[in-house]
């Protein structure tokens, strides 16, 4: 068992998720089983193979830095769970 409850805690923190004490053990087992399966790919020899993150040759695409959209602040803020004036509202972050 490589996934301990501590690892679950750590991974949940990275993913900004809460995992309750009761769930921890179940999540650990779950992830462990999936990772065991994932490790079956070690059966394929990849010595000297270049990792491929994209299939087609991708390069950075440049364009002129020109504004093409309109000011839609009001529309965007309509989706905010909470707003103050023209801003998204969040709890105070500095005491």
């Amino acid at each position: 068992m490589r996934i301990t409850e501590e690892t679950v805690q750590y991974v949940a923190a990275l993913a900004k998720l809460n995992v309750s004490e009761e769930e921890k053990n179940k999540v650990a087992k779950d992830l462990d089983r999936i990772l065991d399966y994932i490790e079956t790919m070690n059966g394929l020899d990849t010595e000297g193979v270049e990792p491929m993150s994209h299939v087609l040759p991708v390069k950075n695409v440049f364009r002129e830095d020109e504004v093409s959209n309109q000011d839609n602040r009001e529309e965007l803020l309509k989706n905010a769970p909470q707003r103050i004036g023209d801003s998204f509202a969040v709890p105070k972050t500095v005491e």
Binding site: K16, D30, I34, L44, V49, P51, N79
Partner: protein, 495 residues
Amino acid sequence: MIDITRLSALELGRKIKAKEITVAEAVQAQLEIIKQRDPDYNCYITVLEEDALAQAEQVQTRIDAGELNDSPLAGVPLAVKDNICTKGVKTTCASQILYNFEPTYDATVIEKLKEAGLIIIGKTNCDEFAMGSTTETSFFGVTKNPWNTDCVPGGSSGGSAAAVAAEEAFLALGSDTGGSIRQPAGYCGVVGIKPTYGTVSRYGLIAYASSLDQIGTFGRSVSDCAAALELISGHDIKDSTSAPQESYRYTDALVDDVMGMRIGIPKDYLGAGIEEEVKESILKAAQVLKSKGAIVEEFELHSVEFAVPSYYVIACAEASSNLSRFDGVKYGYRTSEFEGLQDVYKKSRSEGFGNEVKRRMMIGAFVLSSGYYDAFYNKALKVRALINQGFQKAFEKFDIILGPIAPETAPRLGESLSDPLKMYLSDIYTVSVNLAGLPGISLPCGVDKKGLPIGLQLIGRHFGEKDIIRAAYSFEQAGSYERPTTLTKAQGKEA
């Protein structure tokens, strides 16, 4: 009175042009069928009733003015998967975390469809954030398979596939990250195509795994599906991975001719795990193409069993990064009680995301974390490279590859959810196509003893859409399209 919703999309388009049917009549007929059938199937999260009628009026005006003479699908109602942004229309990704999100812009594909005069009739159900193979992880309830309501429609684009099968839409858009168009098309007995990576703009598609995601189309025939794909394809400066192609005229490939076409069947796709009936049906389909002059040969593709683990590492890693934008601040769900900003993030995300999404984000965070990055993420990228090489080698010898979509026909509701590994393994024939960025089409090739459709998959080389469309069309000409028998029952009820 003709049964409007039973027509093909292209036929409806012709009748609208010929003034035999108005756009409003088509839209009304479609809304009526949705009202009758969707309580049974739950294909839609949102149905655009008033908005669709308003669109109909505008499109009719454009048709009457002769502005849409070159658009064969003008006036045809179409459904859109709920992970594709539609301006001012709720786009939820079937998740609580976006339960009330209204995009401020249209995805490029939506802009193109509106330009061509198609009518967006509604937003379809799917697995939450397109993560799943059954459409059971949706926050808005499961979608049922129109062929048998005890079975899943497949996923993740299950709502789109079921809507087209149930005649609740003429056409639909889906997205395919590891088989999410092709597999539900197979389970629902319709045609679904995922083009080469970079063919259709991803601008406005809410990202799951950016290096694998592609938008594609569903239809009840290869012709409808290809005609719709033609409309949404094209280079887009708003998508930096968009790859320009010489020609997007896929309907040119609707030719009943496979004479001399070289077709390879991977032996590895017909080995352990596949249902006998599915295997027989696939081999019979190959015979049909052979009888039309294609050269069919079996070959070894190798490394097939490594595609699923590699896919899950890459998809989860990209998802854990993409889904970090949902934080309860800018849009969507926010928890009601919190102490401080970190708590807003963690509680909103923990309450707003479902279990499968959380599971994949945690796998993603793990494989990218220091100490595991090389062993998991980098390894998966190397496996991906070898899988791609395997396909490239195969395409030196063959024009297309033929095989099944899934080892079995549609499973029963609830069967897959209890065991995520089993669900992941059902993607074995589809994920490698995404890893290699290839085009793939799924089309019905038979019905099993349980009365469920069997799906045939044709895979093409990069930008080889026309090859697979030509072969699919030729195969389709050999048999007629079968509809779910439940629809006739429903129609008996209406009468």
